[in-house]
Each structure stands twice: as C-alpha cells, then as structure tokens.
Amino acid sequence: MNLSLQRIWGIIYRHLSVYKVNWARMNELIIWPFFELLLWGFISLYVRTISNIGYVVLTLLGALLLWVVFERIQQSISTSFLMELWSRNLLNIFVSPISVTEYMMGLFVVGIMRVGVAGILLWLFTLLLYKVNLLVIGPSLVPLAIALILFGWSLGTIITGIVLRYGQSAESLAWSFAFFLQPFGAVFFPFSVYPEWVQKIIWWIPLPHIFEAMRAVLITKHLPWNQVAWAFGLDAVFLVLAFIFFGAMFEQARSKGYLIKIQD
C-alpha cells in the first residue's frame, strides 16, 4: 500500500482549517464536555455526601474523562465525513488520487487532535471546579485511553459506512450511537450491576473491560493487564470488522451509484 503523507495532511488541514474561520466549532470540544462535567461533578459530590466511599468523585470523573475520549473520537470521524456531504465536497475529494485508507487515516488523526484538546480542557475544568486531579490515575490512563481511541475509530468507521450506504437520513447515528452504547459500557458503575445474561453479551465489547480496569486502578492501584489485553484484543477484532464493513460499503456505493447521489 502506497500511502502519501501529503494527502493525509490534506484531509487533516481541511478539518483543522474550519476552526480558523469558525470559532463556534470549538463548542463541540468545549461546551459539551463542560456540561457533562458539571452534571457528573455535582452527582459525584452528592454521592460522596451520602456514602463513605472516598474515591467516588475520582471514579465518576475519571470515567467521564475516558468516556469523552471515546465519544469525541467516534463523533469526530462521523461528523468530519458528514461535513463533506453538507459542503457538497465529497466528489471533489474522491476524484482526487486519495485512497480510502489515506482519507480515513486523515480523519483518525483529526479525531486524536480533537480528543487531545477536549481531554486537556476537561482535566483543567475538573481541577479548577472540583479540586480533583485526574492525572493521579497515573500512567495507566495511557493504555486505557488508547484502547478507547481504537474502539472509537472502529465505531466511527462503521457509522461512516452506514452514512455512505443510507445517505444523510442516517446522519443522526453520528451523535446518537455513543449515547445508545453508554448504558452497556459499565462506564459509571461496575460490570457486576448488570444481569448475568447482559454481562454475557457486553463482555464482547471493549468498553466494560476498559472502565472496569480504570476502577481497579483507582481502588487497587494496579492495572489489571488481563482486562486491558481483552480490551485491545476486542479492539483489534472491531477494527478489522470496521474496515471490512467500510470497504464493502464503499464498493457498494461505487457500484450502485450512492457515491454520486449521496450529496443530493
């Protein structure tokens, strides 16, 4: 595969340029995570007053930080693709020599940049508002965040494939998919809360493994590598499936003409 860094940069530059001319776009990086933080910050302060669990604030806000990483990266990929549809620019891109892989890699990098900004702001807000330093989770945050980024890439790619196939009528998935998944990710509460039959199903997505690992770090101060390994293993499976799915959707779009009609 002959990848061109210049073409990948072209896609990154296209999406970063939006912030130069439209600061309101920063809302997606600042306002949403900020209000989520307010909500979960107050909930965790309240829970601390009615329980004796000392790490409750850190657990909930740590979960929120990691959730934002996943949610933002998935939405970044899907909405970046939608932006090309809204600006009727998609055909201009795909009549250039860019490959689908280069295009998606550009979107992946843009996603990481957006998550970086949102994550840093969230850490700062948490420190300022609740006097909680999420960095005390330590270096364990890194593998957990990477595992979430990989899963966010997978879902973003799958949703983009669905939009390519079903057009703009499927665009609400870009915002709603993560929301639908949240109750099944053991994000803010332990995996053991779920009924057994639900546990058996959601074991096969990376989210519960990652959030269980985060809570384990806070309680035991040790990263459970077996759960991290499960998360990365499942990430690999989801990524492969996502690429196969997107490739199939792209080929179907080229065969059935969706690619030329999708902007209409």
């Binding site: 530059y13 296209r14 340029s17 932006m83 250039s96 020599p97 860019i98 030329i260």
Partner: protein, 248 residues
C-alpha cells in the same frame, strides 16, 4: 494517440439500463463534447471515467491503463470541475486550494496557486471565503483547482452553467487558451449547443444510454440534416425511441 478508450461500456441500476454498450475514444489534445438530454447517461458515463462508479461490463482505458483498477494513477493525471460539486464554502479560497494541492501532491503549492491565480484572474479573491464569491468567480476558482496538478485530461461538467454571457465567454476563452498552450484534452458536457459548436473538435451524442451520433459537429449536422446542434438536440430529445440509424 488515444488517451481515453471506452469499449462496450454498460451500466445498470436494477432493471434500468443507464449506459447501454457504448464505445468511443478521445484523442490527445482534442475537445470532445459528450452530449445528450437529461437522463441520457452522461453523468453515469463521466462518473465511470472518474472511478466514482463501477461499470457492469466493458472496459475503460485512460492513458492505456484500465479504470478502476488503476484509479489512483489515472486520477493523479486528470482533474474534474463541475458547478454542482463545491469546495468547502466556509473556508477561504486559498485554504481550499491548499487542501486540494495536498490531495494532488502538488510540489511548491503556494507558487503554483499564485501562478494559476494570475492566469484565472482570481488573485484578489484568494483571501475571500468561498461562500462570498459570485457564480462567475466560483467557476474560475473551480477551474483553478482543476489545473493544480497540470492535468493531461480535464473532465468538465457544464462548466459555464449558471454563468452570465460575459463570465461564460471568459471561461471559454481561458479554456481554449490553456488547451492550446498545454495540448490538453477536454472531455466536456454542456447543454449550451452554441458553446459546443464553437469549442468542440468532436461530439458524441448519447440518448437513453446509447450513442446515436458522433463525429465533427459539422459532419454530424450534415449527416443528420440539421442546421444547428440545438435543432438536432431538440429533435432527438423529443423523439421516443432513437437508434443510430433512426437518427440519420
């Protein structure tokens, strides 16, 4: 030398046959106008030539390489412009041109953009947002984008649609000048038959997915006993079933 060779090209959408076994070729340095009423199969054909759509059967060879198997190699040597495909309208013109310079791997892109902006007379527009441009200005900026990679073949889908006569004339003159300077091949679609008569070396007329006439504009008119391409176009568009033989 043929730079485009299309043989027995066919495309179906379910039971509907959009392009029905067409064959044609385009020579280097030629302006070929690909004509037909709405729904004739022009967009489907041009989309297959650009690799946006895959054919059911038949072959497309551009620079002697098969499309879509060699899509990226071919697309790096051609470009496309259409008033119906936009660049991101919230961004400055210069930003959009830099984005496409990267997508086409243009070396020293700032110098290239500056040179082309002079040729197309849009230097004063570079810092403007694309959404703030008039139709004529957008057409020139779109053409500038299409010249970024020094294409050997330019696919133009109704490049003067929605332009006033003066702006359309400017665009036509620019295209003719650049075509002569660069020995450029133009694959052209337009509904402006006067423009087609003026510009084209050859025309291919497609109707209901089939080619029903092709050749030099004057020869086609003589053969089909019409005085103007517009007259010919209207008579074909209004006919129900037309074959190549019927059209004569």
């Amino acid at each position: 030398m043929n730079v485009i060779e299309v043989s027995n090209l066919k495309k179906n959408f379910g039971k509907f046959t959009a392009v029905d076994d067409i064959s044609f070729s385009v020579q280097q340095g030629e302006i070929l106008s690909f004509l037909g009423p709405n729904g004739a199969g022009k967009t489907t054909t041009i989309s297959m030539l650009l690799g946006l759509l895959t054919q059911k059967s038949g072959t497309i060879k551009i620079f002697d390489k098969e499309m879509p198997q060699n899509r990226r190699k071919i697309l790096s040597r051609v470009n496309f412009s259409s008033p119906y495909v936009y660049m991101p309208y919230g961004l400055q013109v210069i930003t959009n041109l830099k984005i496409f310079s990267n997508l086409y791997s243009v070396p020293n892109s700032e110098k290239k953009i500056e040179e082309l902006a002079n040729i197309f007379g849009v230097t004063h527009l570079l810092k403007r947002r694309t959404m703030a441009l008039s139709s004529g200005e957008v057409a020139r900026v779109n053409l500038l984008k299409a010249f970024l990679n020094d294409p050997e073949i330019l696919f133009l889908d109704e490049p003067t649609a929605s332009l006033d006569p003066e702006a359309a004339d400017t665009v036509r003159n620019l295209l003719l000048k650049l075509k002569q300077e660069r020995n450029l091949t133009l694959f052209y679609t337009s509904h402006n038959m006067q423009e087609v008569e003026r510009l084209s070396d050859r025309i291919v007329f497609i109707h209901r997915g089939k080619i029903i006439a092709e050749g030099k504009p004057k020869d086609v008119l003589r053969e089909h006993k019409h005085n103007t391409l517009e007259e010919f176009f209207i008579s074909l568009a209004r006919s129900e079933e037309v074959t190549k033989e019927d059209a004569k």
